[in-house]
Every structure is written in structure tokens, then in C-alpha cells.
């Protein structure tokens, strides 16, 4: 799998390259500025791009803008965006086109190599990887109104929904909560009924539906 990597801090870039190579990814390019990233995304046709939000020369949200622009030109181009902080505002922009293949994670998530690599693979396959903090921000807003559909979920269903919104598959959720996949499937069905969402077999569409539901203005 070919990866384009954009990160301006040498230590982190180097670490990410070594980490990804250790898991048999091929680094097509590891760049440090926005314009370089733009060129690499246009010329190298990677399977997935791992991009830092803030890049030189402007040190603003250059990386995010490059990623969004590349996805406008090539819808569904898998992009995993990394940042020192996560904002629902940015998550919303990344998810806006509804085509999947999007990830948005805190840089801290790199600490857990297995999970991070799993996220990269998921995004490359057209799935979603949302940072738990994004989901918590979304839920914090939801939970406040006290009587909404989200408050009618059982604690276990809520756990399942949080993991599902992060983009995990049923199998991964089952592994993480130490239950059977059938139990997860049952919870998922309940969640969809309680939130009034249409049930779908497609994992990715399911995730996007939940995220869209949580982000909707109440």
C-alpha cells in the first residue's frame, strides 16, 4: 500500500515513516510543506495520504486545505488527517462530501501503533476513522438536552455507538468490548431503531449515518 506522508516536524515525520514501513506500507513520499504535498497528491496517486493539519509555509491549516482540495479533485481519495488538537469544525468539513475514506485523529493516537495502523488501513479501504475526542465533543452537546434519543440508549449501546462512530467494524467493536459479534450486531440494530436511522449493511454508510446524526443541529 502506497502512502504519501506530510508532516513538518522532522522527528515525527521520521517516526511515522519508520512505523508505517514496519507495518509493510510503502512510503511514496514524505514531504514537509503544503505545496510539496499538493504536488505529491497530484502526481503520485497514493492509496492513502497521512497529513498534518498545520504545515509550512503559512503554518495555518495548509495541510487540511490541501487534503480537502485533493478530495474535491478526486472524490473519495483516502486521507487521514493528524493534528495536535481536534475540532468538530474540521471534522465536519472533512465529512461534508459524504464519500468516506476520511480519518481525523489526534497525533497522540500514534502511541498505539496497532490501532493507528488499523486506522490507516481502514481509511485506505474507504472507511472512516474519527478521533474519540471528536465523538465525545459531539455527544457532550447531545447529552445535555436530557430527553433526546441518545439519552434513551443503554450504557452498553452508547459504548457501541461511540466505537461505531469512530469508524470501527463490528468485529473490532466486539474485540474491544469483549463480547460476541452477534451481540454487537444486536446493539447496533437497537441503536438504529432508537435514533430513527435507516439500517444499512454497509459498514461505512452506517458510520456516516451515525456521525451525521450526531452533528445535526438539535
Amino acid at each position: 500500500m502506497r502512502v504519501v506522508l506530510a508532516e513538518d516536524l522532522f522527528l515525527l515525520r521520521d517516526g511515522l515513516v519508520r512505523l508505517l514501513e514496519a507495518y509493510d506500507f510503502e512510503i511514496a513520499a514524505a514531504v514537509e510543506t503544503g505545496p510539496e504535498l499538493q504536488r505529491a497528491l497530484a502526481d503520485l496517486e497514493p492509496d492513502v495520504a497521512v497529513v498534518d493539519v498545520r504545515l509550512p509555509p503559512t503554518h495555518t491549516d495548509e495541510g487540511l486545505q490541501c487534503a480537502l482540495e485533493a478530495r474535491r479533485r478526486k472524490p473519495g481519495l483516502p486521507v487521514l488527517v493528524l493534528s495536535q488538537h481536534v475540532e468538530q469544525l474540521y471534522a465536519r468539513e472533512l465529512l461534508a462530501d459524504g464519500s468516506g475514506g476520511v480519518g481525523y485523529l489526534l497525533k497522540d493516537r500514534v502511541f498505539d501503533a496497532e490501532q493507528f495502523v488499523d486506522a490507516v488501513r481502514r481509511v485506505a479501504a474507504g472507511g472512516t476513522a474519527m478521533d474519540p475526542q471528536v465523538i465525545q465533543q459531539l455527544l457532550a452537546r447531545r447529552a445535555n438536552d436530557g430527553r433526546g434519543p441518545v439519552d434513551r440508549l443503554t450504557p452498553r449501546e452508547r459504548e457501541v455507538m461511540e466505537l461505531m462512530a469512530q469508524g470501527r467494524s463490528n468485529a473490532a467493536i466486539a474485540g474491544s468490548l469483549v463480547v460476541t459479534e452477534r451481540a454487537v450486531a444486536k446493539h447496533t440494530a437497537n441503536i438504529f431503531v432508537k435514533l430513527g436511522l435507516e439500517v444499512s449493511d454497509d459498514d461505512n454508510r452506517r458510520v456516516l449515518a451515525v456521525l451525521a446524526y450526531l452533528d445535526r443541529d438539535h
Binding site: R54, S83, H85, E87, Q88, L89, D108, Q137, H218
Partner: protein
């Protein structure tokens, strides 16, 4: 050889400079005439309207109506005066200091009017409007007349005299151009001669005549010693506040780093040392400690992230004020609508101050108002960043001692910004801020 060439070059340059000098002087003369025309045609009517309305409004104060109109019109007069200051700076390179007291914060019209009438700058503005109506117009028209009148002389010599002395005009006798009675071609040439003479005068004095207008303006609009002293006092106060606030901020950051991230890194270092020792003796225990060290590093990062958010939020650095407030609104438990109309980036210090002010006001609204909805509106108009935050809560908010709003007001003061609160019991609450600033 070399010397000769250098001399020749210098000569050539001199002639060129002279020619350019002549050209630019003509340009300046025409420019002065155009600027005079703009002042007389586009600006002067406003002066008259403003002065008349101000008099009417002041006269209506005893009837009560004036109380509502006076603040409006006096603010307008300020804008006019500031506009003339700006023109003086741009057209004549003349700086006319401006020293108004900050606009009263209260929404009570009586208090507003009273505060405005207390400001000596208000009366200075009115005096200036009065003089500007007459002397201002004359001095503005002077360069226009000096440049345009000679053109009529030339037109007369070119044949206009025939029209002016023939037909119905002939009945009134000769046509007077200045003091020259024009009745035939010869006298028309004399008129043209006078025109040339006037043009020479214009070349000399047109720019100075416009300068006279702005010198007069400066004489009338420059604040007196007492007002400057008052301004100095305000600046000293706000500066002390700013220094105090930033010192307190630094102390807080130091304490947070010392007790938080720094302590965690120390613990991590110790854990790593122990792990090194245990690696051979007790690998299981080492593994446990490794997990603990990783946990510590994650916590240290989280703490640093919160700290950074408190110093300068990353979204503010990445996207500017509008998106930073949008991102902030998305974190609030109360649905908040944000409307932004900023055609550029706000200056960095103002941006940061405005962000934290909005943040404080939103937090207040969420905590105390019991509102179900909040609206924030940010826009830039007339050289001011204007922000209003409205909630449909229970109202009753005040800028009292010790309230969050007093702190916001103090911090905005550093930027000559003002804060106004309208919060009747039962709501709604509307907090508005205004900070002078330019967009980039």
C-alpha cells in the same frame, strides 16, 4: 574622460529632474483643485446637514425627543471630523490628533446624551462644523477657482466672447472677466492674459490654499492640553491593567506547567529508569510500568493541549477569529448560531483579545443565563470590529465588580475597545463589544 562623462550625465539628470518637477507641480495643482472640489461638493453638504440637525436635536432635548437623536447625531459629527482628519493626513500629510472620551456604555439615552455633552470634544466638533460651513467652504473652493477660472479666460479668447456678447447677452453690455470688460477679440485676448497670470498664481498657491483649509481644520479640531492629559490618564490606566493581566497570565501558565506537564515528565523519566532496571529481573513488572509511562505521556500531552488552548487556541492561529468562534460554539452545550462577516484577518493582538472576550461572554451565558439558544454576530464596519452575543435567557447580567464581564471590559480597554450590556430582568441579554481595528 571619466570626469567629463560624469559631468554630462549629471547635467542630463538635472534637466530631467527639472522637467519632471514642472510636470509634478502641475499635477499637484490640478490635484489640489480636484480635492477642493470634492470637499466643496461631496463633503460640505454633510457638514451643513450635520450642524443643522445637531442644533435642532439639542433644541429638542427639553422635549425629550432630542435625548434619543442627540447621541446619534453627535456620533455622526465625530465620524465627519474623523473623516476630515483622515483626509488631512492623506492629502496634506497633516496629522490632527483625535481625543474623544469612549462612547458611553449604557443604553440609557439620558445618560448617553449627558455623557456626550460632557465631553469637551463634542463642543469642539460643533464649533468646527460651524466654521467649516463658511470658512471651510471658501478655503476649499479657493484652489478650484484658481485653477478653473483661467480656463474661462482661454475659452473667451478662443471664441467664447462672441457668444457671451452676442444675442440676448449683448443687452447687458460687455462681459466682465475679472476686471476686464470683454467686447471684442482684443479684449478677449486681454482676458486670456489675465487667465495666464491667474494660472501662474494658481501654480504657486493652489496647493497652499488647500493647505490653508486643513490648517484651519487642525486649529479647530486639535484637542486642548486638558483633554490630552485625560487621554494620557486613560492610557496609563489601561496599560497598567494590561501589564497586570499579562503578568497574572504568565504566572498561571508557569504554575500549570510546573504542576502538570513538567511533573508528569519527571514521573515518566523515573518510570523509564525503573523499567531499565527491571527489564531483566522482572519483565512482567517492567511491562506494567511501560504502560504506566505511556499513560503519563498521554496525560502530559492532554494537559499541554489544554494549556495551549488557553494561551492561543490553535483554530485561531489556523483559521482566524470567525472560525475560532465557530469552533468554540460547537463545543458549547447550548445551541449557538454564529454569523461572521469579516472580509479579512483581524490584527493578531485584537483577534486574540476579541476571542477570549467572546469566549468569556459565551461561558457566562451558558453558566448563568439558562438560555436555550445563543446568537453571536461578528462583523467589521467603519474601522471597528463589532461583536454581539445575544441569549434568550433570564437576563439580569451586569458589569459589576468581580463579574467576568468587568474583566472582559478591562482587557478590551487596552485596545480602546468598549463593552455594553443590555440585560433587563427576564431577558434577553445582549452583550456588544466594539474594538477599533483594521483588517488585513
Amino acid at each position: 574622460m571619466t570626469g567629463g562623462r560624469r559631468l554630462g550625465q549629471t547635467d542630463g539628470m538635472n534637466t530631467k529632474t527639472k522637467r519632471r518637477d514642472g510636470g509634478s507641480r502641475t499635477r499637484e495643482m490640478v490635484l489640489a483643485a480636484v480635492q477642493g472640489l470634492v470637499l466643496a461638493v461631496a463633503v460640505w453638504p454633510w457638514t451643513v446637514a450635520c450642524y443643522v440637525l445637531a442644533l435642532v436635536s439639542l433644541a429638542l432635548i427639553p422635549l425629550g425627543i432630542g435625548v434619543f437623536t442627540t447621541p446619534w447625531i453627535l456620533t455622526w459629527a465625530r465620524a465627519l471630523a474623523d473623516n476630515r482628519r483622515e483626509l488631512a493626513r492623506r492629502w496634506c500629510g497633516m496629522s490632527i490628533p483625535s481625543a474623544y472620551r469612549p462612547l458611553p456604555r449604557t443604553a440609557n439615552p439620558w445618560k448617553r446624551t449627558y455623557a456626550l455633552l460632557q465631553d469637551p470634544a463634542t463642543w469642539r466638533d460643533l464649533r468646527w462644523l460651524q466654521v467649516d460651513m463658511v470658512a471651510g467652504l471658501v478655503t476649499a473652493l479657493l484652489p478650484v477657482v484658481l485653477v478653473l477660472y483661467p480656463l474661462e479666460g482661454f475659452a473667451l479668447a478662443a471664441g467664447l466672447w462672441r457668444t457671451m456678447t452676442a444675442g440676448p447677452y449683448g443687452a447687458y453690455g460687455p462681459y466682465w472677466y475679472g476686471f476686464v470688460p470683454v467686447s471684442d477679440q482684443a479684449t478677449a485676448f486681454a482676458a486670456a492674459g489675465l487667465g495666464v497670470l491667474l494660472l501662474v498664481v494658481a501654480d504657486r498657491f493652489a496647493v497652499r490654499a488647500l493647505g490653508l483649509h486643513f490648517r484651519m481644520t487642525r486649529g479647530l479640531l486639535t484637542p486642548g492640553q486638558a483633554e490630552l492629559a485625560e487621554r494620557v490618564k486613560v492610557l496609563t490606566d489601561t496599560r497598567r491593567d494590561a501589564v497586570d493581566t499579562s503578568a497574572a497570565e504568565l504566572r498561571r501558565i508557569e504554575r500549570d506547567l510546573h504542576d502538570g506537564a513538567q511533573a508528569r515528565l519527571v514521573a515518566m523519566g523515573m518510570d523509564l529508569g525503573t523499567i531499565e532496571l527491571l527489564l531483566d529481573k522482572d519483565p512482567e513488572k517492567a511491562r506494567q510500568l511501560l504502560a504506566q509511562a505511556r499513560q503519563s505521556s498521554a496525560e502530559a500531552l492532554a494537559e499541554l493541549r489544554d494549556l495551549v488552548r488557553g494561551i492561543h487556541p490553535p483554530v485561531l492561529a489556523e483559521r482566524g477569529l470567525g472560525d475560532a468562534v465557530r469552533a468554540l460554539a460547537l463545543r458549547l452545550p447550548v445551541p449557538t448560531e454564529v454569523a461572521v462577516e469579516l472580509p479579512g484577518r483581524v490584527e493578531a493582538p485584537v483577534e486574540s483579545a476579541a476571542y477570549f472576550a467572546v469566549s468569556e461572554i459565551l461561558t457566562n451565558a451558558v453558566k448563568h443565563s439558562g438560555a436555550a439558544r445563543i446568537w453571536a454576530d461578528l462583523h467589521h464596519a467603519e474601522g471597528h470590529l463589532r461583536i454581539s452575543v445575544t441569549d434568550n435567557g433570564r437576563g439580569g447580567a451586569t458589569i459589576g465588580e468581580g463579574s467576568g464581564l468587568a474583566g472582559v471590559e478591562r482587557r478590551l480597554g487596552t485596545f480602546d475597545g468598549v463593552l455594553a450590556v443590555s440585560s433587563p430582568a427576564g431577558g434577553p441579554t445582549m452583550v456588544t463589544m466594539e474594538i477599533p481595528c483594521v483588517l488585513s
